[in-house]
């Protein structure tokens, strides 16, 4: 993605026809994440967010967990050696029920000041992830392609 300077606070938001509980499960259990999160297996429990992609495994600190409304955790780009050396940033998932069975999901990725390469890297990624998550929850199938 070509940005002049990658943003140090990035906000992504999407409306999904699903309950807050379904969205919570989809972001905290690997059986779901591997279907829309670049194949990553992600499990949140015991105050940590355990991630694995291929042979790479790492975990991140959970800063706040209020199921099924709010999850805040540290972000380390361990999946790419070039980005892994950068400082930890922060990701907040906000889950807000709306009328008509719709839930608004907002992802705020901030504290990216000391992680410029990560900021650049995730800018396109979050769009793809949220689009894939919406498709998975609404159709039961991962995004094609």
């Amino acid at each position: 993605m070509t940005t002049l300077t990658a943003q140090t606070t990035q906000i992504y938001s999407v409306f999904i026809l699903a309950t807050p509980e379904q969205i919570w499960d989809a972001i905290t259990k690997s059986e779901f994440t591997q279907q829309y999160f670049y194949g990553a297996r992600i499990d949140v429990h015991d105050g940590r967010r355990f991630c694995s992609i291929g042979d790479t495994e790492w975990d991140e600190e959970v800063l706040e967990a209020d199921p099924p409304r709010r999850l805040v955790h540290g972000w380390v780009s361990a999946y790419d050696p070039d980005l892994a050396a950068e400082e930890q940033s922060r990701v907040s998932w906000e889950i807000e029920p709306q009328d008509g069975g719709i839930t608004k999901l907002t992802v705020v990725h901030d504290q990216l000041e000391a992680a410029p390469k990560t900021a650049e890297n995730v800018a396109g990624g979050w769009m793809y992830i949220l689009s894939g998550l919406k498709t998975l929850l609404e159709t039961g199938k991962p995004l094609a392609g």
């Binding site: 990035q10 906000i11 719709i102 769009m127």
Partner: protein, 115 residues
Amino acid sequence: MTFWSRKIPDMDDDQVFKALADPTRRHLLDRLFERDGRTLTELESELEMTRFGVMKHLRVLEDAGLVVTRRDGREKLHFLNPVPIRLIHDRWIDKYTEHRVAALADLKHELEESA
């Protein structure tokens, strides 16, 4: 369930297409693409338009989900939310460009067959 699942995505698309069908609003998105988290005052200073006019355009963008606002103390900051554009891309652009690519592949195949 079926009512909403059919209705909502199209309604969302309508709002996004309408929001994008205006040069001032596209300009505002471009400004936010360059740098996010701007106040109304900052955005207004780059446009030859009244504060009220800019507010109205931002409101349309916000209703379509293309702009998300956050409070930071006394200030209201505007952020670009590209997800609805990505959804349109996945729903519309992919579909037609895939067809084009397939058509070209067929043509190549036919030409090679007859060669």
